[in-house]
């Protein structure tokens, strides 16, 4: 009781403090509420329609199987990451370990990556369509899609790798150079191992974006609902869901697909936070 009255007294002399307290609580309630609402809506609408036929080996307009789309999604993930991860990681290594600070070129790269990360994905889609699909004549294909997605997640991977590398204490680098080690050995043996979990969590975030992407893929990878090789057009799970709801004939199947999409994205985010936890452990 006395605690309560203490609080009330404080609020009486500082009314703004009460207002702010209430505002923050409203914000928290709204945020959690919206999240619960979306997840709840997807689950209630989707789970009843999660039938075994949705996972049939092949897609027909009757069963609306999402299995080909799931397979395509993982091919897309793999292909985009094989391109984007090494490129992004080496770019970050250059920025942190090799480039001189305040170098004009570095500032240009940083400006570019920041700008690129703010561009809507449809713009990447249109670029991919003009460049990979038309100019390089790769047609609507998984490869065109993967390249477009790789460009899209590149800034994300560069940024997170940069942060991970910067968080490695300079005293480790000094210690290594002080023993007569060169740059290459210092980077690979001393700097990269403690940074690896930070880099990994960036890659996993990139996976999440690739997984959920539609706009950039419609114009580059297309919407064919078959198992696709790199040179074929194929739909990922997100595109599958988009197509189903766009056609308007299979809303229930679209909802079921949404459940699967949600589960996988939640799993990926879980992995990301696990990797981040490992990073903070490594810092001790």
């Amino acid at each position: 009781m006395s605690v309560m009255s203490d609080k009330m007294r404080t609020y009486r002399s500082h009314p703004m403090s009460l207002v702010f307290n209430i505002l923050t609580k409203i914000a928290v309630t709204l945020t959690i509420g919206i999240f619960v609402l979306i997840v709840g809506y997807v689950i209630i609408k989707g789970v009843p329609y999660l039938k075994p036929s949705l996972f049939s080996a092949n897609y027909t307009s009757d069963n609306c199987s999402m299995l080909p789309a799931i397979a395509n999604t993982f091919i897309m993930l793999l292909a985009a990451l094989v391109i984007a991860a090494p490129l992004g990681i080496f770019c970050a290594v250059y920025l942190v370990e090799y480039a001189k600070k305040g170098n004009r070129f570095v500032r240009l790269i940083r400006l570019t990556t920041e700008t690129l990360s703010g561009i809507p994905s449809i713009v990447y889609g249109l670029f991919g369509n003009m460049f990979f699909v038309l100019a390089l004549n790769w047609k609507l294909s998984m490869l065109s899609g993967a390249c477009t997605l790789a460009i899209m997640v590149l800034p994300l991977i560069i940024r997170s790798t940069e942060e991970a590398l910067k968080s490695v204490d300079d005293s480790f680098r000094e210690g290594s150079y002080g023993l007569g080690a060169g740059k290459l050995r210092t980077i690979f043996v001393i700097v990269l191992p403690p940074a690896i979990s930070g880099i990994l969590s960036g890659v996993i975030l990139a996976m999440g974006r690739i997984f959920g992407e539609t706009a950039a893929l419609i114009y580059t990878a297309g919407t064919v609902a078959k198992y696709a090789g790199l040179s074929d057009s194929g739909r990922t799970l997100a595109i599958h869901m988009y197509s189903l709801s766009n056609e308007g004939l299979h809303m229930n199947e679209a909802s079921a697909t949404a459940v699967v999409l949600l589960v996988v994205v939640l799993l990926l985010n879980g992995l990301a936070s696990l990797a981040a936890k490992k990073l903070s452990k490594g810092g001790n």
Partner: protein, 251 residues
């Protein structure tokens, strides 16, 4: 007079526009401990780092003058890896790598091409013994080095530096982050190592300089005010500034 182990002639050093060292001349004799003393920001650590070119890592750092090791110019006529192998360094804070004690010690020798396990085992044992930390570490060589106490870590750092068989050991305030007992251990260790190594130590602690060093250089505002036998510096300094500093009137 014998050739000095390390010699600095006419050295100026700039960080950008700031002149950190002014016209430094210094001779460091073999198998002696030379101490650098002076208030913070006087350039003593900067000069120490120039002796194995760690200042190369600092952007905007310009050095002029001549630095020689056994008469060879270390900025012109020597590979930087060769220099840092011969002139080892122990830093202010223990900076063991996040790996096992064994791998920490073996990192240097592996860098310089020693791969045989028997040889590495031998190096790990001898250097840890030299650094008086073998008894505390022999049962946990494969465990993370970061689990040791600060004082133990610093002695392992010294062992790591010794593992590449240097001739000179640079120590940059090696005890400033340690408790008094660890400090005494490091000081005893330095006096012991003097038999085989040339040691240059930067210290804020004037008692430490009197306890372990043979020669002392007093730095102020990027210049060496006085350089002489430690005994002379602390009992009968020639410069008024030195007297003021060692009697605690500033700094």
């Amino acid at each position: 007079m014998t050739q000095p182990k390390l010699q600095v002639k006419n050295c100026d050093l700039f960080y950008g526009d700031f002149q950190a060292l002014k016209n430094i001349d210094l001779e460091i004799q073999e198998k002696e401990i030379t101490a650098f003393i002076g208030p913070s920001g006087c350039g003593k650590s900067t000069l120490l780092k120039s002796l194995n070119r760690m200042n190369d890592l600092v952007e905007g750092c310009k050095i002029t003058g001549e630095f020689t090791l056994d008469g060879v110019n270390i900025y012109k006529d020597m590979e930087i890896t060769e220099l840092r192998k011969r002139v080892g360094m122990v830093f202010q804070k223990p900076n063991l790598f996040p790996m096992s004690i064994y791998d920490n010690i073996a990192y240097g020798p592996r860098t310089h091409g020693i791969k045989k396990k028997a040889e590495l085992d031998e190096i790990v044992e001898t250097t840890l013994k030299q650094a008086c930390v073998w008894d505390e570490t022999k049962d946990r060589l494969k465990k993370s080095a970061l689990g040791m106490s600060g004082g133990q870590q610093q002695r392992i750092c010294i062992a790591r530096a010794l593992a590449v068989k240097p001739e000179v050991l640079l120590m940059d305030e090696p005890t400033s982050a340690l408790d008094p007992i660890s400090t005494i251990k490091i000081e005893e260790l330095a006096s012991e190592l003097k038999k085989n190594y040339t040691i240059v130590i930067v210290t804020h602690n004037m008692q430490q300089a009197t306890r372990i060093s043979d020669k002392t250089a007093f730095f102020l505002h990027g210049e060496i005010v006085e350089f002489d036998d430690t005994h002379t510096i602390f009992s009968n300094p020639k410069e008024h500034k030195t007297l003021e500093y060692i009697t605690g009137r500033f700094g």
